[in-house]
């Protein structure tokens, strides 16, 4: 895990600050850090995005491949998530070090999309029972500075927004066999509806209050956090308690309330930003990695 060790005095300092709604970097308890989102950063993918939140930097690439639908849900395509914790981010991730964290993040992503409304998976189906699109969502952690889950979910949403899947024309021949023809016009493509894709808000309990978007130092002061995936309508698609501590019921209710409020407020500017960037098209200024 990417963690830092801090001494008791620092912990007390952070906790007192949080009590007075003033965090070490000057934010209030439910403020996010400065965020940068950029889409279409990798040319070989069907959709990609890079999100920088404080010093956390995440790159997501989506590749669409043809596959068979799952037998139990024949009329839907599906998503596959892979999270790679690169040793660039921290030497602890070297070898198999990052595997645990990676599988934790990817399982949360699976859970987040495991419902009907997050993403219309039926749009990914080409021929029921036979062909569908499989979206391979690869997440790369370039830099870790806390709050990986929130940044990852935003990056996934942005990457799904920018995903363009070529249209497929199905024609039937005389014997009833099906022929697939993939359009080679780069503008003849399908876009995904990402309105309802949820974003994760991580709330860390520090002292008697909770903060969103905890830095590594703040995360070290927190015994327990709550992960909440919220859609733009305010529906909750996933809740997890993580960390070694327990929470009292009242604070759980408070935290879900904050999570919902913060999460809802996160969606509108994100969508606006993505659309604005889209309109700019080729004229936009590219920032590039780690920029």
């Amino acid at each position: 895990m990417a963690t830092v060790q801090i001494c008791e005095a620092e912990k007390v300092y952070i906790m007192h600050g949080v009590r007075d709604d003033l965090r070490i970097d000057g934010r209030a308890c439910d403020d996010y850090r400065h965020m940068e989102v950029e889409t279409d950063v990798v040319s070989n993918t069907d959709g990609s995005a890079r999100v920088k939140m404080g010093d956390t930097d995440i790159l997501v690439g989506i590749k669409a491949e043809m596959g068979r639908p799952r037998p139990l849900i024949p009329d839907e395509g599906y998503l596959e998530f892979f999270v790679d914790c690169s040793a660039n981010a921290t030497p602890e991730f070297e070898g198999r070090g990052g595997e645990e964290l990676g599988s934790e993040i990817s399982s949360t992503l699976y859970k987040m999309f495991q419902n009907r409304s997050s993403l219309d998976l039926r749009a990914l189906c080409i021929v029921p029972r036979e062909h569908c699109w499989v979206l391979y969502v690869d997440v790369l952690l370039l830099q870790c500075d806390g709050n990986l889950l929130d940044a990852t979910s935003i990056a996934v949403k942005a990457a799904l927004f920018s995903t363009r899947i070529p249209k497929v024309h199905v024609s039937e021949d005389d014997e009833g066999g099906k022929e697939l023809e993939i359009s080679d016009d780069p503008y003849d493509c399908m876009r995904l509806q990402v309105e309802d894709v949820p974003c994760i808000v991580t709330l860390s309990k520090i002292g008697h209050r909770h903060v969103v978007d905890a830095t590594l130092q703040e995360a070290a002061c927190s015994m327990a956090s709550l992960i909440i995936a919220v859609t733009h309508k305010g529906n909750v698609t996933c809740v997890r308690k993580v960390g070694g501590g327990s929470l009292d019921p009242e604070s759980i209710f408070e935290m879900t309330e904050t999570g919902k409020r913060v999460g809802k407020a996160l969606h509108a500017p994100l969508m606006k930003l993505l659309q604005e960037e889209e309109v700019l098209g080729k004229r936009r200024q590219k920032v590039g990695f780690l920029g």
Partner: protein
């Protein structure tokens, strides 16, 4: 390889046809005409109505402590080993012990046969179990040591994680591992405006075959009953905000229903293991 064109070759992969038979009669869990219909097993909707529970301690003689629990048809077995010397030494915190959890479904426990290799669902469950149990344990009393919890699901009929948490905490008590409190688990299935507490497998997975409906999802809560703290919370599906809070409250109530049963089983096990200490100790 020459292909025999006269024969129809079998597909490479096959699926058991039973999988496609819906567990519940077709249609949504709740019919529009009778929104408050009772559940299939006669329990009430939107009521804190848990299945009857059977719990026993100390069945695995080899283990330091063990417990077996049945709730309806869900059957869970748990064994606890340790505290023993920690295998992994790279942990940053050497002052406290480690809790290692293993969670497995027996291959025959689910409608579809599983494999012996631990799947990602089981790994997630093990992780959730570990996080639910840890706040209840006095791990600082076991420096450099690790406590191992092994959960085996013998029969899966819904609410497995919740019952695994309860069963594991009983096994930990049976093993004499010091704990701040018991850890009790309870699950809930939200179905529209009503909820089903302690759902069966059919109730848990039902509704997927039906129309997409608002406010569907599952919630699992782990509670430290005496301290009144929630040590684990898992929610999936799509829930409205207010139903998350309501679901957590209902699950906590469900945990409190379990408490006397679990307590009685533990007291019974403690009494059976040892006669009361002699008068000499008492003054």
């Amino acid at each position: 390889m020459p292909v025999d064109t006269r024969r129809v070759r079998a597909p490479e992969e096959s699926q058991c046809p039973l999988l496609f038979v819906p567990l519940l009669p077709r249609g949504p869990l709740r019919t529009v005409a009778q929104p408050e219909k009772a559940r299939v097993d006669g329990r009430q909707r939107s009521q804190v109505d848990v299945r009857p529970v059977f719990a026993r301690c100390g069945l695995v003689t080899q283990a330091k402590g063990s417990a077996y629990m049945e709730a309806g048809k869900t059957k869970v077995l748990c064994a606890v080993y340790g505290p023993r010397e920690s295998e992994r030494k790279d942990d940053t915190d050497m002052k406290a012990g480690r809790l290692v959890c293993d969670f497995r479904y027996a291959p025959f426990s689910c409608p579809k046969r599983g494999t012996w290799i631990q799947g990602s669902e089981e790994r997630d469950a093990a992780q959730a179990l570990q996080e639910a149990l840890r706040p209840g344990l006095c791990l600082h009393r076991y420096p450099r040591a690790q406590v191992e919890v092994n959960v085996l699901v013998l029969e899966h009929d819904g609410s497995v994680l919740a019952h695994a948490v309860t069963c594991a905490s009983m096994a930990l008590v049976d093993a004499g591992v010091e704990m701040y409190d018991l850890v009790l688990g309870c699950a809930l299935r939200q179905d529209g405006d009503s909820y089903l507490l302690d759902p069966t497998l059919a109730e848990e997975s039902g509704g997927h075959a039906t129309q997409p409906e608002d406010n569907q999802g599952g919630v699992t809560v782990a509670l430290l009953p005496s301290l009144g703290q929630v040590s684990g919370l898992h929610a999936d599906g799509e829930l409205r905000d207010e139903s998350v809070s309501a679901a957590v409250r209902a699950c906590m109530e469900g945990c409190h229903r379990l408490y006397p049963v679990v307590r009685r089983a533990l007291v019974y096990a403690a009494r059976r293991k040892a006669a009361p200490p002699g008068d000499s100790l008492e003054t």
